[in-house]
């Protein structure tokens, strides 16, 4: 067990940064290329999760527990955001019968 832990640790911090930025960029790409509102919200979850992992990695790197507490707060915020966002999507779907982001042009000037 101890040897396994020493084996899985020892990844350079650089690699965590690159990995998390890749996941973040995938989330941004998902927001840009999809038209379904629900999938856009899922891409936002992907971005939040990449930032969470990076905070946890920095926290482990610095030996400071504050980063992991921030991850906890981000998770609470994401739960609230998903609840309100999905309720709004259900309301929009009832009124327009679609989840297409380009049909939501009511706020356009």
């Amino acid at each position: 067990m101890d040897s396994m832990i020493t084996q899985i640790q020892g990844v350079p911090l650089n690699h965590y940064i690159i990995f998390c930025s890749l996941i973040f960029a995938i989330g941004v790409t998902g927001v840009l290329i999809r038209r379904n509102v629900i999938i856009i919200m899922m891409s936002i979850e992907l971005m939040l999760n990449s930032v969470n992992l990076l905070l946890a990695a920095f926290s482990a790197y610095r030996g400071d527990a504050s980063g992991q507490v921030f991850v906890f707060f981000i998770m609470a915020l994401a739960a609230a955001e998903v609840a309100v966002g999905l309720a709004i999507i259900i309301m929009v779907y009832r009124n327009t019968k679609s989840v297409d982001i380009e049909s939501l042009s009511k706020l356009r000037w």
């Binding site: 650089n14 941004v28 629900i38 979850e45 992992l53 482990a60 507490v69 309720a87």
Partner: protein
């Protein structure tokens, strides 16, 4: 150490599948697998509490909520709106540019290449609870108000409007 690269590869692969698959239900399922790989990452970082919370909150609650809404609205691959190919290509190029910008920025910054040594102590519930309730007590209470507000707001929004005669 090689476990990290395997799991990172899997996470990136499933994240790509999430945004490129056509059927929204498959998309949600791929996202659940992505979150599972991220949970493995938390375990590798010795963040046991976060791993459990990620498992329960993200995979158990949030993704089930997404799946529930998708099935409530009866969406599947046939009703999926598709963007024009031009917009898709532009989006993909913009994403690639973001990756290139990030990598270039990290090259310029030259962050130190030291190893992450996960301290087994800090990820435990006991230690996190001490930090949470000493330094972060006020944000903790405010987040409870945030969750309450979100719950009330969601119920009010999703309620059927009473038609006035």
């Amino acid at each position: 150490m090689s476990v990290f690269y395997l799991v990172a590869f899997l996470a990136i692969f499933f994240a790509l599948m999430t945004i490129f698959t056509k059927n929204p239900v498959h998309s949600v399922l791929y996202l659940v697998v992505t979150f599972f790989t991220l949970t493995i990452h938390y375990i590798l970082l010795n963040a046991q509490f976060l791993a459990v919370v990620n498992f329960i909150v993200y995979m158990g609650a949030i993704m089930v909520l997404f799946l529930f809404v998708l099935m409530l609205l009866n969406l599947n691959g046939d009703t999926e709106p598709v963007k024009s190919n031009l917009a898709k290509i532009m989006g993909a190029i913009a994403g690639m540019c973001l990756i290139a910008t990030f990598l270039g920025a990290f090259r310029v910054l030259q962050p130190n290449n030291e190893m992450v040594v996960g301290n087994a102590e800090i990820g435990l519930v006991k230690n996190l609870g001490k930090v949470l309730f000493n330094e972060f007590l006020l944000p903790f209470e405010i987040s409870s108000i945030l969750l309450l507000t979100a719950m009330v707001g969601a119920v009010l929004l999703a309620k059927k409007e009473v038609r006035k005669v």
